[in-house]
Amino acid sequence: MRYDATLAETIGIRGHGDDLIEAYTARPMDPGPHPGMIVIHHMPGYDRESKEITRRFATMGYSAICPNLYTREAPDAEPDDAAATARAQGGVPDERFVGDARGAAAWLRSLPNATGAVGAIGYCSGGRQAVLTGIEVDVQATVDCYGAFVVGTPPDGFPLKVGPLADRIPELGAPLLGLFGNDDSYPSPEQVDELEKLLQENGKTYEFHRYDGAGHAFFSVDRPAYRPEAAVDGWAKVADFLARHLHQDVVGSN
């Protein structure tokens, strides 16, 4: 009988500017050691489903942490209210996000049973932030789930304090897994092509999977966009990718 237990709780960590920010963490309770995973929540916020994803990574053998990127705008607010407030203020500035992601990575590495390897995964706006994490933060793998505006020009009325990352792809320091729906408009299949071309031109380690019959947010189990076949396969691809890049000593790959 395999012992299967997870500790999940809210904690405070130090993020950008040494600010105290809220985070949700889930860790396997066996001695490990365990790699870490940073879960970057989608634009609708630090919600029940993001916490569920965080717990799932713990069941997969990772110490996981999901920082509440809207802590500062909306402390203790309900996730939808926090997301609305963040949207009205133009979203999360990249510099602040990077500081929070660095804080999350440092917290994961401070755990007594950490291996030191840390990965990141982000959904929706978090997909772009996952790529940014691979550029700015010391991580060994990163996963972009349908992040918009990694490449491409934002439309008129775009209020967020972010821009495309195309010119920064040469700085990407971590292997990248990308999961995309072919019916998505942001990012469109053409934008996914453009990102893939940039990764190839810069000799980056990457792996893309694109799903027919799926659009944006196909992992979102509580939304009409949920596509079980794409999501089930996507989770398998995530598990495989992380096993190869965050367990290198264990599996002996790469």
Binding site: P44, R87, P154
Partner: protein, 83 residues
């Protein structure tokens, strides 16, 4: 989420009824994006925002309902000139 595009309107001398009662509303954001509650994949969403994140009056409208609301607003604002 999908398009990120957001129209913002500063509100003056305006109020909304929140879960904590009536409060001044200072800003409205309007955007077409994934709803939290309404059944469509995308809706026209309006957030009336007040003093704090929790004092928000939010609606998620189907495109058809949003068009009808827009027409009703135009008629009402036009009519107000004659009062």
């Amino acid at each position: 989420m999908c398009t990120y595009s957001t129209e913002k309107v500063a509100l003056a001398r305006s109020s909304g009824k929140t879960r904590d009662g009536w409060q001044p509303m200072s800003q409205a954001t309007v955007y077409y994006d994934h709803p939290v509650h309404a059944p469509d994949a995308h809706t026209v969403n309006i957030d009336f925002l007040g003093r704090e994140p929790g004092s928000r009056v939010a609606v998620e409208l189907s495109l058809e309902s949003a068009r009808e609301l827009l027409a009703a607003l135009e008629v009402t604002v036009e009519r107000a000139k004659h009062h």
